[in-house]
């Protein structure tokens, strides 16, 4: 069995999850501080990929990074292209999984007790220290849950991925596109193998989420 799709899916999900993790936290933190109207507009824009069909996201990505479109042509000057290459999968996964990280992180930041950061500042702690050593650890559970969800979504991404990078065995194939391709070519046993792999990964991810939520409940329970 050729394990390339598993390896490709995992690296796409891992890289996109890392990018989405920092991008999501940063934007969630910045947006939470903004005035209400700007916050509302940004919120809609940043959450849109969650409700749009992934193929629509894929279409937008093609309109930007396609080889006949400005960003795509600009990158081509440096010999780099997203279309029909596996790094394009990262781009697709980032766009589609970003809202999950952003939403959960923002929820966690908004329930953060701001007096903790005030007291840190009056004690002379730097804003960077307060962010990484107080705000992040206190919001850890929510942020971790967001990251796991984003990873799972990136791993299962099909629509935008297939539009942007298609399916080339050994080059751009991911688990999701492989299942479709094998089924389409009447290799049902091959498809079943990848379905089982997918089920195994998803189960682990869900167990992780439950574990995180249990931790949260226990912590709250002890406080009361």
């Amino acid at each position: 069995m050729d394990w390339y799709p598993l390896w490709n899916s995992l690296r796409i999900a891992a890289v996109s999850c890392a990018v989405v993790f920092f991008l999501g936290i940063w934007l969630a933190f910045e947006v939470a501080k903004m005035p209400r109207i700007i916050k509302g507009i940004l919120d809609v824009f940043l959450t849109l990929p969650l409700v749009l069909p992934p193929t629509v996201c894929g279409w937008f990505l093609l309109m930007i990074f396609g080889l006949n479109h400005p960003a795509g042509q600009f990158l081509m000057k440096f010999g780099f292209q997203f279309v029909m290459r596996w790094p394009g999968g990262i781009l697709a996964a980032i766009v589609v999984s970003f809202p999950l990280m952003y939403r959960t992180a923002r929820g966690a930041f908004e329930s953060f007790d701001e007096t903790l950061s005030w007291s840190g500042r009056t004690l002379g702690l730097s804003d960077t220290y307060i962010f990484w050593r107080i705000r992040m650890p206190v919001c850890r559970q929510g942020i971790m849950a967001g990251a796991v969800l984003a990873f799972a979504r990136a791993l299962g991404e099909y629509g935008a991925t297939s539009m942007l990078i298609g399916y080339t065995p050994g080059k751009t194939a991911t688990i999701a596109t492989t299942v479709y391709q094998l089924w389409r070519t009447n290799d049902n046993n091959g498809a079943l193998r990848w379905v089982l792999v997918n089920l195994a990964i998803s189960t682990v991810v869900l167990l992780c989420i439950n574990f995180l939520e249990d931790g949260e409940k226990q912590k709250k329970g002890r406080r009361q």
Binding site: W118, S119, G120, T122, L123, G124
Partner: protein
């Protein structure tokens, strides 16, 4: 040791205007909730930027809108005790206190400083506990230790006892009193509790609707609050509209009687206040017949509500508080007097006057 605060701040419909000078000792900011007490502390500590004004702490200007000075909270060296103590939940007692140390780099010196602070604040044995494992009193001591270890120039205490039950509260007030006594700089305590203010503060500022209506020595304000708000906040139960009828005489239309006062009465008198425990059957001045309407028994005292003979039907009953033993609960009528020096003369603040003019 001196603090000079003069700030203006608008927040939506609310406007804050505070001018406060303190030269050593403990100043109390007494006011009902929502009057702007905590807002004032936030401005002093730099969490909130006033629109204009000046804040000088121990000779160091930390804010001056005209000179464009606005130090961040980190550089103001203010010890701010938050109402909920704001301990970092992800850190142990020891780590929390370690956060309060400023500008010391040597880890061994830091550890030793924290160790000494822990033992002096009676937190030994709790070093590795997390805040949610501590009692209310221990949380407060940890928060104080975290503040004091940074050697602040001024202490700002925001409702320090509101998170505690009443039994613990009395014990901790005594502890706090000795702690404040040994602190070198000024302290400002925000509270809505008159007992706390009386026990802890040498001077008092009474706050109403974003303005300071009275400032001065605590004892003096309690013995003669000059405004209705001051009288209410210092716990005066009987406040009633009154008018001047002589140099030392006021008439209370609602009660249908006149009182002699020790202080000279100004023309713009608005009301008088008489504390519940200043009435007495053995006081011979301002003595009138009364009818008792209600008796409430407390562990060590009686609260009695009574009315004067000619009192208006709509007017509320008057409170009298007397020790047990000196009162016979079977009596229904009698004579009660009040000494002229115990009658507080209350005047409107500038704002109330304007409010009346508009009406």
């Amino acid at each position: 040791m001196s603090t000079e605060i003069s700030i203006r701040k608008r927040l939506g419909n609310f406007s804050l205007a505070v001018d406060l000078c303190s030269s050593g000792g403990v100043t109390g900011l007494l006011g009902a909730s929502g009057c702007g007490k905590s807002l004032t502390l936030r401005c002093i500590s730099g969490i909130l930027k006033p629109d204009e004004g000046r804040i000088v702490i121990n000779g160091k200007t930390v804010f001056d809108s005209r000179k464009g000075i606005n130090l961040p909270p980190q550089k103001r060296h203010v010890g701010y005790l938050f109402q909920n103590y704001a301990l970092f939940p992800n850190m142990t007692v020891e780590q929390n206190i370690l956060c309060g140390i400023r500008s010391e780099k040597d880890a061994a010196v830091k550890a030793e400083t924290v160790r000494r602070m822990i033992s002096s604040m009676q937190l030994s044995g709790l070093e590795h506990h997390r805040p949610f494992e501590l009692s209310g009193g221990q949380q407060q001591r940890t928060a104080l230790a975290r503040i004091l270890v940074g050697k602040p120039e001024i202490l700002l205490l925001d409702e320090p006892f509101s998170a505690l039950d009443s039994f613990l509260r009395e014990q901790l007030i005594t502890e706090m009193k000795s702690l404040l006594g040994s602190f070198q700089g000024d302290s400002i305590i925000v509270t809505h509790n008159r007992n706390e203010a009386y026990e802890l503060c040498s001077s008092l500022a009474i706050m109403e609707n974003g303005r300071l209506t009275e400032t001065g020595n605590t004892r003096k304000i309690f013995s003669n609050a000059g405004t209705r708000a001051g009288a209410v906040l210092t716990g005066c139960k009987n406040i009633v509209g009154a008018e001047k009828t002589g140099e030392h005489e006021v008439r209370v239309p609602e009660w249908g009687i006149s009182f002699f006062t020790e202080k000279a009465v100004r023309d713009d008198l608005a009301a008088i206040g008489i504390r519940a425990h200043y009435f007495g059957p053995d006081r011979m001045q301002n003595r009138f017949p009364v009818k008792i309407t209600e008796q409430i028994e407390e562990p060590f005292a009686w609260i009695i509500k009574f009315r004067y003979g000619n009192q208006n039907a709509e007017s509320e009953s008057i409170w009298w508080r007397t020790d047990k033993g000196s009162y016979d609960p079977s009596s229904e009528t009698g004579y009660l007097g009040v000494a002229p020096e115990d009658i507080m003369l209350l005047y409107d603040t500038e704002e109330e006057k304007h409010g009346k003019d508009r009406k």
